[in-house]
């Protein structure tokens, strides 16, 4: 076992060696380095072929037409293109957009920008398990609603929205439905023939592909239109200009191809590891799992250890690479906005760890993580005045704290 152990696969993943070797074949003079847009020689034709193969691999994983895939620099750009692109195209129909409070910042900040441009945004509250129901979406729809944007799997708590059911609502009401699938593609089955999603954001680096490449799915039937946000040579059917990064695209294609072959086996394996992890931690006193455990991506566990502050917990767990919902390191002292939106109190939000498991995690890694976490929690509770008060039967909500 090699330390530190990487348990932050929801942040990014290492590139699969098979992906890395496919990418290496698209760089040097002996290899496939051409510009896919060069029409006058075989260097260009060969590069174009590689790009189109990759496009087919991505389309195959989510069961759509390759012509519906637009390459972007990542899911952040895909989210920006989807939200601003659809809002700008359909603004004559209305200026109302619906999203949720627990979206990724790429969606929330794009919405903030659209608000500055005069659009109106409704931010839905998830239930206490982190889920947005189709009924909640339906109730928020208005005659001037043009776009609904919701994530498939939440990046912090891993919960899965029922996008198939939500898509039925939005299609019936003729509202464009965008889904950020950065955390779900290649981990859960996505079938765009069946799911009535109009725009979907993808990334490579959460699925053992390289950073800096992603894609936006843009439905052809019924046709969805977007205004481009980057102008130039008219690449990608005019929706996203810029010379295509052959090596990045080939890497994403190979990563998605592998996911298509191994997804089901991998989901079973990561779920077993998560269950092992949860079994090893659930009998610790005052622990809380954040987010629904049933409707949840297999590799994610988000768990709060009451009366222990997240950042000090991370410091005690330096051999483990994971994330905390406590943002004490940043200038603001705000804990995770996702956990707050679930109605978790500040203490529990400050006490949370996000552990995300992936392709290269082993049972030994999980056993080690369980031992380290249990030890650290016990040690920090010995140091915690809140733990003392809890043990003395003090109700912490009744204490008058001197906020600072």
């Amino acid at each position: 076992m090699q330390l530190p152990i990487y348990l932050d696969y929801a942040a990014t993943t290492p590139v699969d060696p098979r992906v890395a070797s496919a990418m290496a074949e698209c760089l040097t003079i002996e290899a496939n380095f051409g510009n896919p847009a060069s029409r006058s020689h075989q260097f260009g034709w060969k590069a174009e072929e590689a790009v189109e193969n990759a496009r087919r691999n991505v389309a195959d994983l989510v069961n759509c037409d390759p012509r519906e895939i637009v390459w972007t620099s990542g899911a952040t750009e895909a989210d920006n293109l989807a939200l601003k692109g659809a809002a700008h195209f359909y603004h004559r129909k209305g200026k109302h957009i619906i999203t949720s409070r627990i979206e990724h910042k790429a969606v929330l900040d794009s919405c903030r920008q659209l608000e500055r441009e005069g659009y109106e945004v409704t931010y839905l509250d998830p239930d206490s398990n982190g889920l947005i129901s189709p009924e909640t979406v339906e109730r928020a729809l208005r005659p001037d609603t043009i776009l609904v944007s919701l994530m498939h799997v939440n990046n912090e708590i891993g919960v899965i929205n029922d996008i198939e059911a939500i898509g039925e609502v939005t299609r019936r009401r003729k509202v464009v439905f965008h889904v950020d699938a950065a955390q779900s593609a290649g981990k859960l089955e996505i079938d765009l023939e069946r799911m009535q999603v109009d725009l979907m954001s993808f990334t490579a680096h959460k699925l053992y592909g390289p950073k800096g490449i992603g894609a936006l799915y843009v439905r052809r039937k019924p046709r969805v239109r977007i205004e481009p946000q980057i102008h130039g040579g008219g690449h990608e059917r005019g929706m996203r200009s810029g010379t295509l990064a052959t090596h990045q695209i080939v890497g994403m294609g190979e990563a998605y191809r592998i996911a298509g072959e191994e997804m089901h086996e991998e989901a079973r394996r990561t779920l077993a590891l998560r269950e092992q992890l949860l079994r090893g931690l659930e009998d610790v006193e005052e622990v809380y799992v954040n987010g629904d455990l049933t409707h949840r991506a297999p590799g994610n566990l988000n768990i709060s250890f009451n009366f222990v502050e997240g950042e000090s917990l991370m410091m005690a767990l330096r051999e483990l690479a994971l994330s905390s919902g406590s943002a004490c390191t940043s200038a603001s002292l705000e804990p995770s906005y996702v956990l707050r939106a679930l109605g978790r109190n500040d203490e529990l939000a400050h006490s949370s760890l996000r552990i995300s498991i992936g392709r290269f995690t082993t049972t030994e890694d999980i056993d080690y993580a369980i031992r380290r976490i249990r030890h650290a929690v016990a040690k920090l509770r010995e140091l915690s005045p809140l733990w003392d008060m809890y043990k003395d039967g003090v109700d912490l909500d009744q204490v008058q704290w001197a906020a600072h």
Binding site: E311, S312, M315, S326, N345, D346, S384, P385, L396, W401
Partner: protein
């Protein structure tokens, strides 16, 4: 974030962790911060007949820098008179530990804690006299 050697040392081996008997008229308790902010410090001192701090204990809920600040503070106040201990400034703690700018509030909290503990023991002693 990279932590200094001194922060890591106090975090790994915190000094004077524990509780003193709050019913003792010579014990002062300073509890500062709030769980919502991610930091709560409880600092306790016991003072002898000459007004010298003979013992100090702490418990802290918070980040490593908050734990280190309070641990260091308990080392510093032992053996000092109450008057002398009021002169400890957050800047002294921050400089000694090498706290990064985003963690200065941890040393501020420690200064608040010792001031609160001193005020508490003074009040208790006045009441018993």
């Amino acid at each position: 974030m990279a932590y200094s050697e001194k922060i890591l040392d106090h975090y790994e081996n915190p000094r004077n962790v524990g509780r003193l008997d709050d019913d003792d008229a010579n014990v002062g308790t300073g509890m500062v911060g709030a769980p919502a902010c991610g930091d709560v410090m409880r600092l306790q001192i016991r003072v002898d007949g000459d007004g010298v701090i003979e013992d100090a204990k702490f418990k802290t809920y918070g980040c490593g820098s908050a734990i280190a600040s309070s641990s260091l503070l308990t080392e510093w106040v032992k053996g000092r008179s109450l008057e002398d201990a009021t002169r400890i400034r957050n800047k002294d703690i921050a400089d000694e530990l090498g706290l990064p700018p985003v963690k200065i509030h941890c040393s501020v909290l420690a200064e608040d804690a010792i001031k609160a503990a001193i005020a508490d023991v003074r009040k208790k002693r006045e009441q018993t006299e």
